[in-house]
Point group: C2
Chain length 466, copies 2
């Protein structure tokens, strides 16, 4: 009998499970029927590409990589503008749609994603021009509001908020970014690194309000459109307001079905095969992937969220492996999702910011004592094209001397260095090993002594030793 | 009593020992007197920068980072145009100069570097316009000969030869590159990758003669200047000829002093502290660094050469650590030079070539069975500036599935990827681990599924599994 797979959610996690299963469909002799149910009207959208569309690099349409028809043509029951209202894990292995229709599944993938956090003062308002930024529909609204706007206001100083603020600023809007507590991208950057980013963005024209004791006390409008945001005594003109305070896992369906939700993370609990948990057991034919799941931190071993596209892609691969392993009875196909180091890179107004592993603060919260070293250097000799300064901070466990975190800011080589340092953290490389490890050298491509060596030596207190 | 350190050789290895000791001089309470003896007239020259000077990116003078006076001003006895004729390790701890002068040392560093290999037919000629390419003096001669030249001929298809040929071609000379056996940079690239490089260079206008059964049979001149090179039946016009067949360790001084020379590598044997060996013991106050030393291969564990600038820098650091450890009686300062993975990156006419670990051929020679995977992909989404194709080949041990080698060609991100993969090899990462490891993602900086994942999956035969 044909195997039925139902995927709830059409974000990166859901789409990648679909794509992977589709690519290997012919290997299932019983036949494989795939259903994907998503709320939005779109097919496969690169949500990560939206901030660049707002910056004006390309149109929002370009972020739709495949239209629904693309999947329909391949025999997928690809349902847009549709919604699941109930999951019945134990009795019938079914999901019920808003229309009342009931779908039976052999395998269910919950990829319900996230929903934006919104403060009460914003929830109450129904002014035009006040938006969250979670999907392509939001992007379209923001873009439309931007057209005649002079002043922009962004609430949220994480990656998303700063990306939107950078876009506003690049398009010539007078932009204010508000956030608390003061440090930028506090989950990924120590305050010293966050402050360097802030300086860069201030030069790019963004005004920051990070030390206010008060939150937003009012959002004022005129003729149904937003005109200002009030923080304490100050009224800040704003023709467009974006709320980007972080995203909560969207777990309501799973919760109602009795699937376990993490107490700390508020994400769906899974084992390393991405099976969800109900009662005392992990459910062998129900998986969850993407922004709605809880992951285990690779350093602290505590549960947390990891709402990154690449995490969803790896999780989707693991799910695909395990669905095939199960269908074909081939245990050697099985694979697992490992504790996450959260490698991150982003472009803010031309400054690339990278981070992997824990911040000093996260390490301290987990009871880890750290030593860190910081250095700034060009990426290659200054008379070669593309030589740019890079500041690197390496964080080591104070006792084992193993690398547990890295942060950097620069105009080049950041993403690649994050990947290198992710491997180093994964492998438990020590400061002394990093210091004496050979790196490739060509004066047009690198310095003879890279900033990594300097930062490792700074952490080892080398200058103090001699 | 003031500690006397004598360094023989002013290449990167010698200069870095000097620089390191100089920087920490004040920490030696007895005082530290440094002598460096070099044949050339220059101070500290970036030899790796010379090919770019030939390409016309900057003048040859610019490669002299510090003049001799810079070191003299700091109290170093920096002797240029000078030569050591004898090392007396056992009796007196002295070196004798050509002038007859005798210098006593507490610590001796042998950094005598390398000398170019030259075929007999070239050795016999004394035509103007035929040069090796080993230092700044050679570069000046080549540059002068290039000025009125129309045709160039390069013997040698390793990194050095290809760099010179690229420079000739970029400056408008009709360039022929001759080498045997056929594969380019055979020590660092498998033939399939070498062939891709060859194609690129052919498009850049370089002619290759790699399949000739004959070597150079004659070099013909006219009025004392070279005018052609004869290979078999073919006479190839050449106004400038560069011989770049590889560099032999310059170990004559060490050999005469009874210091052990590797039978296979022909380099000076050291322990991991970089102490040279005489008879049955390693000599505690005589070190060797740079192109003249033998290293241990990180994969095959066989002795080989590693004539790379960064290797010399790491070795110099190890020597500095150990000299200070000895002077101060602080064992915790001690450090060691580990078996080498030879990370390499170079720019050939705009194509970046990277390599680390063993080639398939080197693995096979060492009795290792391998599986490899290759993939080509853009470095980021095509609508972002700087997106360039990259071909990556990963070589895994067939039984342990650990990464033991990587090779790549592309126009961007190559040096950084070599460093990432060097850590992965060092740490013994397997294909399955690489496949499921998280990498940072931002559409302007990377693809959601990097070429690394594709190459790892290809090596695992993933498409064949399903």
């Amino acid at each position: 009998m044909t195997k039925e797979v139902v995927i709830i959610g059409g974000g990166i996690g859901g789409i990648y499970v679909l794509r992977n299963l589709l690519a290997k469909k012919d290997a299932v002799k019983e036949g494989l029927h795939l259903t994907l149910i998503k709320r939005e009207k779109s097919g496969w959208v690169s949500v990560c590409g939206l901030p660049f569309a707002l910056r004006g690099w390309y149109g929002i349409d370009k972020t739709e990589i495949n239209k629904p028809q693309f999947f329909l043509d391949q025999g997928v029951d690809f349902r847009t503008g549709s919604e699941v209202t109930k999951i019945n894990v134990e009795e019938n292995s079914v999901v019920t749609l808003r229309t009342g229709e009931v779908l039976r599944y052999d395998y269910l993938i919950i990829a319900t994603g996230r929903k934006p956090a919104v403060p009460a003062v914003v929830e109450k308002t129904n002014l035009e021009g006040v938006y969250t930024f979670n999907n392509e529909d939001d992007a379209r609204k923001i873009e439309a509001a931007m057209k005649d706007a002079k002043n922009a206001f962004v609430y949220g100083h994480g990656i998303g908020g700063i990306q939107v603020a950078s876009a506003f600023s690049a398009r010539g809007l007078k932009t204010t970014l508000f956030g608390r507590p003061p440090s930028l991208i506090a989950s990924r950057l120590d305050p010293d690194m966050g402050d360097m980013l802030k300086e860069w963005l201030e030069k790019a024209g963004i005004r920051f309000i990070l030390d206010s004791e008060k939150g937003i006390t009012a959002i004022k409008g005129d003729g149904g459109r937003v005109k200002s945001v009030v923080i304490g005594e100050e009224e800040i003109p704003a023709d467009v307001v974006v709320i980007s305070m972080g995203k909560k896992p969207d777990v309501s369906l799973a919760k109602e079905a009795g699937i376990e939700i993490g107490e700390e993370s508020h994400g769906i609990v899974t084992d390393s095969a991405m099976h969800v948990k109900k009662g005392r057991r992990y459910v062998s034919n129900v998986y969850s992937v993407g922004d709605c799941v809880e992951v285990i931190d690779g350093i602290t071993h505590r549960p947390r969220l990891n709402q990154a596209a690449f995490a969803a892609v790896v999780q989707a691969k693991v799910v695909t492996d395990n669905v095939f392993s199960d269908i074909r009875g081939q245990l050697d196909l099985y694979s697992s999702y490992e504790p996450s180091l959260g490698p991150t890179a982003a472009d803010f107004a031309g400054l690339l910011v990278g981070s992997v592993g824990v911040t000093s603060e996260a390490a301290s919260r987990a009871g880890l004592k750290t030593v860190s070293g910081k250095a700034t250097k060009l990426t290659k000799a200054r008379y070669f094209p593309g030589a740019k300064p890079l500041t690197l901070k390496l964080i080591f466990d104070a006792y084992t001397k193993k690398l547990i975190g890295a942060q950097m800011l620069g105009e080049a080589t950041v993403a690649e260095r994050v990947n290198e340092l992710a491997v180093a953290i994964y492998a438990g490389i020590t400061a002394a090993e990093m210091r004496n490890m050979e790196r490739c050298y060509d004066p047009s491509l690198a310095l003879l002594i890279d900033v990594t060596i300097d930062a490792a030596e700074a952490a080892m207190g080398i200058t103090a030793v001699y």
